[in-house]
């Protein structure tokens, strides 16, 4: 019969790891999205020439592997700047910037997808830039950008497994700790994978629900 040394205590330990994964992801997606909207609108608004320095910085975050970013950022903050901040703070900071870099592209793509003729029509009716952005561009762009944004959020959640390098014990690290102790890698990875699924599935379904709801009105 199937036999395992996994105890309730260990399941709670895994659940706590899943909690950390969720918190890190929530913080990164929230701040990443806020910054991503600011950067995306800025890039669209000032044009490619003036946005080039920002584009370059965001490209750095997009093209260097997250693992390297985390290690370098942690070393920079703790040894060069000499700040004693927790690995959790560093992880949230790096992951937020990483999310922002991707989100800026999604936002810019969303805005660009709104027909310029429609926006000109809005402006000629007397709407200000702010009114145009909030009443015309936002509703349309959000519908276009939503699937990519959900994909980004799920991606960030899985990428957050890398924050173990700055001493944050999240879901995957918790599973690895248990694997070292109990020596049941396959079973524990299945349990760990189920935890990830339990977290991601509702987010994916919620995204699908919003898409359907918005496509009707």
């Amino acid at each position: 019969m199937f036999d395992t040394a996994l105890t309730t205590n260990d399941l709670i330990f895994l659940a706590r790891g899943a909690g950390v994964t969720l918190i890190v992801t929530a913080i990164a997606v929230f701040f990443g999205t806020v910054m991503g909207i600011v950067f995306g609108v800025f890039r669209y608004q000032v044009g490619p020439w003036w946005a080039a320095p920002l584009t370059f910085v965001l490209d750095i975050f997009r093209s260097i592997p997250l693992l390297i970013q985390l290690v370098l950022a942690n070393a920079f903050v703790t040894t060069v700047l000499g700040w004693r901040v927790s690995g959790f703070t560093v992880a949230c900071g790096v992951l937020s910037l990483y999310t922002a870099a991707y989100c800026a592209e999604i936002v810019r793509g969303g805005i660009e997808a709104v027909p310029p003729t429609l926006r000109r029509a809005a402006r000629s009716l007397g709407l200000s830039w702010g009114q145009d952005m909030t009443s015309i561009v936002m509703p349309l762009a959000v519908r276009i950008a939503l699937p990519s944004w959900i994909g980004l959020a799920l991606g960030v959640m899985k990428d957050s497994a890398l924050v173990y390098v700055v001493q944050v014990v999240e879901l995957l690290k918790s599973a690895q700790i248990l694997i070292t102790r109990l020596q049941e890698p396959l079973f524990l990875l299945i349990v760990c994978g189920s935890f990830y699924f339990l977290i991601s599935f509702p987010i994916a379904r919620f995204g699908g629900y919003l898409e359907r709801k918005w496509s009707r009105d």
């Binding site: 205590n9 330990f13 320095p53 920002l54 060069v80 000499g82 700790i177 248990l178 070292t180 102790r181």
Partner: protein, 269 residues
């Protein structure tokens, strides 16, 4: 635009970091936390208990060091190859991770005096008359092929000119053969020997004596230039031995018997 801001920022940061960088010992005390790299898949030196908390000789040693400094200990789990990179990249202050004090490593990191030594023990079948390691002369002995202790044992058998040496594929096979009486004796590290005797998986075996091999001395490590901290750690290790804490931790994590002598006869340090 961003880059322009980053460059003066870096210069300013480097200037500010200068004085604060002077001494790690001061940094640790003022921060209130000592971050130790510990390997947690290496019992009895480091492992995790049923609640997944770090435990072991190295974990206790780190806690003692932190208590001596009057700060909180933070155990940072690392693997063996990760120990030195973790130190160099500033993720930890010291490594209490059973690091052998090789001259090659000393080019990169700063070693304290040894805080522990892995010795080798002679383990025999209970049915065999043996009082010390010399009792292996003329007996059938064996060890895991290619290991340090196997090479030593085979050399001894050749030197004695009597008895037999048998190589095995792994440690479990050696202890199984010993338990079943196919072997009279073997040599393994004291920690493995103690654990195997205590596990009850190999009935009929006993630890006879320590083997007269050069022990594997292990030391605490920190950054090479941190003399203040290295000096402190040396005194700390000395105090651990003289207060009996070293023997206490040995009894708690390794088992009965005398812990290894941390001095080397005939030479300073």
């Amino acid at each position: 635009m961003k880059i322009k801001h980053v460059v003066p920022g870096l210069v300013l940061a480097a200037a500010l970091a200068g004085p604060a960088f002077a001494d790690k010992l001061d940094d640790i005390i003022s921060s209130g936390t000592l971050r130790c790299a510990v390997v947690l898949d290496f019992p009895p030196m480091g492992s995790r208990d049923e609640s997944n908390n770090p435990v072991g000789f190295d974990v206790d040693y780190c806690n003692d060091l932190a208590a001596a400094l009057g700060v909180e200990a933070e155990i940072v789990e690392t693997t063996f190859p990760e120990r030195i990179p973790a130190l160099m990249s500033g993720r930890v202050d010291v490594a209490v991770a059973s690091t052998s004090d090789t001259l090659e490593r000393a080019k990169t990191v700063g070693f304290s005096i040894p805080y522990y030594a892995f010795e080798n023990a002679v383990v025999a079948n209970e049915g065999v008359e043996m009082t010390d390691w010399e009792g292996m002369r003329g007996k059938t002995v064996g060890a895991t092929a290619g290991t340090y202790e196997a090479i030593w044992l085979e050399e001894k058998v050749t030197e004695w000119g009597e008895g037999e040496f048998r190589p095995y594929q792994n440690q479990a096979d050696v202890f199984l053969a010993l338990s079943q009486g196919q072997l009279d004796a073997t040599v393994s590290t004291v920690e493995v020997a103690q654990a195997n005797v205590a596990s009850g998986n190999f009935p009929g075996i006993k630890i006879v004596d320590k083997a007269p091999m050069v022990p594997d001395y292990v030391a605490l490590i920190t950054l090479r230039e941190e003399y203040g901290l290295i000096n402190y750690m040396n005194l700390f290790i000395n105090q651990q031995v003289r207060t009996g804490r070293y023997a206490e931790l040995y009894a708690k994590w390794v088992g009965e018997g005398e812990p290894a002598d941390l001095t080397v006869q005939g030479v300073y340090r």
